[in-house]
């Protein structure tokens, strides 16, 4: 995409944030139409200036990974997401419940696969 990402600007915090969020979207950790964290929250979490985060969001928007609408905030574009939002919410709930129960990841995946194949 842009020269910004292909040059010596690789250490630019804006690019780091862009890559981080793009990774979340591409790997399916953010669902279609899910709102991205606010610029302020992301800036606080990463310890950077809000302007730096805003620039990263602009890059995501330019790549078609997110859509920004007035009053609706910045959301993951449906075309870029791996999972619909309700499914990802269930996945998160499954992870949380499994962690609380001390279940191994492999066991959960095995059971999920078996249940999937059995048709629910």
């Amino acid at each position: 995409m842009t020269a910004l990402l292909d040059t010596a600007a690789d250490t630019n915090p804006t690019v780091d944030i862009y890559r981080q969020l793009r990774g979340l979207i591409v790997s399916g950790q953010l669902a279609a139409n899910e709102r991205l964290p606010t610029v302020r929250q992301t800036a606080g979490d990463l310890g950077v200036a809000p302007g730096t985060v805003a620039k990263a969001y602009k890059l995501l928007e330019r790549d078609g990974l997110v859509v920004t609408r007035t009053a609706a905030g910045t959301r993951v574009a449906a075309s870029a997401a791996v999972l619909p939002r309700p499914v990802l919410q269930q996945v998160r709930a499954l992870v949380e419940a499994s962690a609380a129960a001390g279940t191994e990841l492999d066991d959960v995946i095995d059971v999920l696969r078996a249940v999937w194949r059995a048709g629910g």
Binding site: Q20, L24, P37, Q41, D45, A100
Partner: protein, 337 residues
């Protein structure tokens, strides 16, 4: 005027009209809940450790102290008004707003360490994976319960306020029940949960709602300390959020129970005796919402017991977390400063 027989049912009703009795019943309930929880070994599931402990333990202690404060002040206020002071001619306008005001102060006490010590630059950046809002760590069922309680309290207060009538000094404290077909007889006037009580309740409820929302929002939105502490911090934030929601809900239930009691006692009046009139028989004068008043009278102790139970659970659970948590990792804390 006939005397009411002192039946076991009447004694039970009288006992359940005392907040101290509701507190006692709630204490028994909480004891049972804790015994059941200890058998399932759930007690120490949310202990923060290390740097997370140094950040979150003051908040958990503040939650616990706030819940205790609401109960203590509410019970003392009730006992003082009931047994120590003669307030028969005084409009104790603060009566129903007291638990809400104390809860408001308590929630602000919880918010203070979150806004100061609890919101700092992270030791190591934790990339956000999702938007965190005021509902992120709040107990879903608890938030729904708080919403229902809020609606019930506001609806009760507004409806009662609209029904109330002013006394000679313009204070809305009366329920006026006309005697049917007897225009020459003054209507019944009984003390009621009118605007004089309701306006302070509405103001405190609004302030408590805003403070509760702000606390949940700040609790959720602040950055995590370190990637290694995220799980512990999430657990601690859930505990803080649940505590704040329970304190607000408990306080609203205590206020609602008091309001329902007064509505019940005022709206249940149905007979008027006037010496030398009507051949010694009473006049029938019932409030058109008398059935609702009766229902409110039955629900009031239930609401009060549930409110005390929520507050006791917060006080006991957070106290146990605070007293049994490991000591903070001071090296890690210093690194943060």
């Amino acid at each position: 005027m006939p005397h009411t027989a002192l039946t076991p049912l009447a004694l039970g009703e009288a006992a359940l009209s005392l907040p101290v009795v509701s507190l006692l019943i709630a204490g028994i309930l909480v004891g049972g809940i804790l015994i059941a929880a200890s058998r399932r070994r759930e007690a120490a599931s949310a202990l923060p450790a290390g740097a997370a402990a140094s950040r979150h333990l003051p908040e958990l202690r503040a939650v616990s102290i706030s819940a205790i404060g609401v109960m203590v002040v509410f019970v003392i206020d009730d006992l003082v008004r009931r047994y120590l002071l003669d307030l028969s001619d005084v409009i104790s306008w603060w009566r129903f707003a007291t638990p809400l005001f104390i809860a408001l102060v308590g929630v602000c006490v919880v918010l203070a360490p979150i806004a100061t010590r609890g919101t700092r630059r992270p030791e190591a950046a934790v990339p956000p994976t999702a938007r965190r809002t005021w509902t992120s760590f709040g107990p879903r069922a608890g938030l729904i319960g708080a919403g229902i309680t809020l609606v019930a309290l506001v609806a009760t207060t507004v409806a009662a306020g609209l029904t109330s009538s002013p006394d000679g000094q313009g204070r809305y404290i009366w329920l006026v029940i006309p005697v049917p077909n007897e225009s020459g007889i003054d209507p019944l006037r009984t003390w009621f949960y009118g605007w004089a009580y309701g306006v302070p309740v509405l103001i405190c409820t609004l302030a408590l709602t805003i403070a509760g929302w702000a606390t949940l929002q700040r609790n959720a939105a602040r950055p995590f300390i370190h990637p290694d502490t995220v799980a512990a911090e999430r657990a601690a934030r859930r505990a803080v959020a649940a505590g704040v929601v329970q304190i607000a809900t408990g306080a609203m239930l205590l206020a609602l129970a008091g309001a329902w009691r007064l509505i019940s006692s005022a709206g249940s009046v149905t007979l008027l005796w006037i010496d030398g009139q009507n051949g010694g028989q009473p006049y029938d004068a019932s409030w058109r919402y008398g059935a609702l008043a009766d229902l409110a009278g039955w629900l009031a102790p239930v609401a009060e017991i549930v409110g005390f139970t929520l507050l006791l659970l917060v006080a006991v659970r957070r106290s146990r977390v605070a007293s049994t948590a490991p000591q903070p990792d001071l090296a890690g804390v210093e690194a943060l400063r």
